[in-house]
Point group: C2
Chain length 133, copies 2
């Protein structure tokens, strides 16, 4: 049960989702993405959009995170490993890196006998713009 990453079949629908996502600068929810595709005539079933997003997330091709109210949002992601600093008011997200943290995570995992470790870090705060309101 290793990550034998068996490639999925390539279909019009999956391509449409990947394409749309690649052209969007910001995070979108599955629902929004589905609506956009429909508006562009590239109609894809809602369940299929969810499945495509799940698959791409599992394969690490896109980033997924949660809004303050629990909705999952997705975005095409640069190949570099990074984390997010999200504003709890406006949802604006900043990508941040932290080599020190990467090392810490590796070390902690190793100390406890864990292998093949991945980690997720989310920092939520109030950004300067929202604070001054």
């Amino acid at each position: 049960m290793s990550d034998t990453t068996q490639p999925r079949r390539s279909t019009r629908q999956q391509a449409a989702v990947a394409n749309q996502l690649a052209q969007l600068p910001d995070f979108v929810s599955a629902q929004e993405l589905h609506a956009q595709l429909r508006d562009e005539g590239e109609s894809v079933g809602l369940a299929t959009v969810y499945r495509a997003l799940q698959a791409m997330t599992a394969e690490g091709q896109i980033d997924m995170l949660r809004t303050e109210d629990g909705e999952a949002i997705y975005r095409a992601c640069s190949t570099t490993h990074h984390h997010h600093l999200v504003c709890r008011e406006c949802g604006r997200a900043v990508e941040v890196e932290g080599p020190a943290v990467e090392r810490w995570a590796e070390q902690v995992s190793a100390e406890h006998g864990f292998t093949d470790a991945h980690h997720v870090i989310e920092i939520v705060g109030t950004c300067a713009d929202c604070r001054t309101v």
Copy 2:
């Protein structure tokens, strides 16, 4: 909308929620908290549990964050801050601390003008027991 913190009326139910939360070392979902209260005979309506948790979160008395699958979980603020190292096979979780990471998170937030920042770190790996299977 400053912290005019107009005090809510104090009721048995709110006290029960606050109390229960104060005695739990870790995050719990509203559903779990509701079940626990029921089991202890201190029955409180589910909607009321949600309302109490919302109010306490708004007043900054407790922390709220989201699990990977979007469920809201809550914890009394005073608990020692720590993170989790979770096995992807058996679900076993180890609590870990990392002062360096805490400092890093604070620093990154400040650099980008974010205030009042909280963070969540989850490390997922395969533990020694599950690897040897």
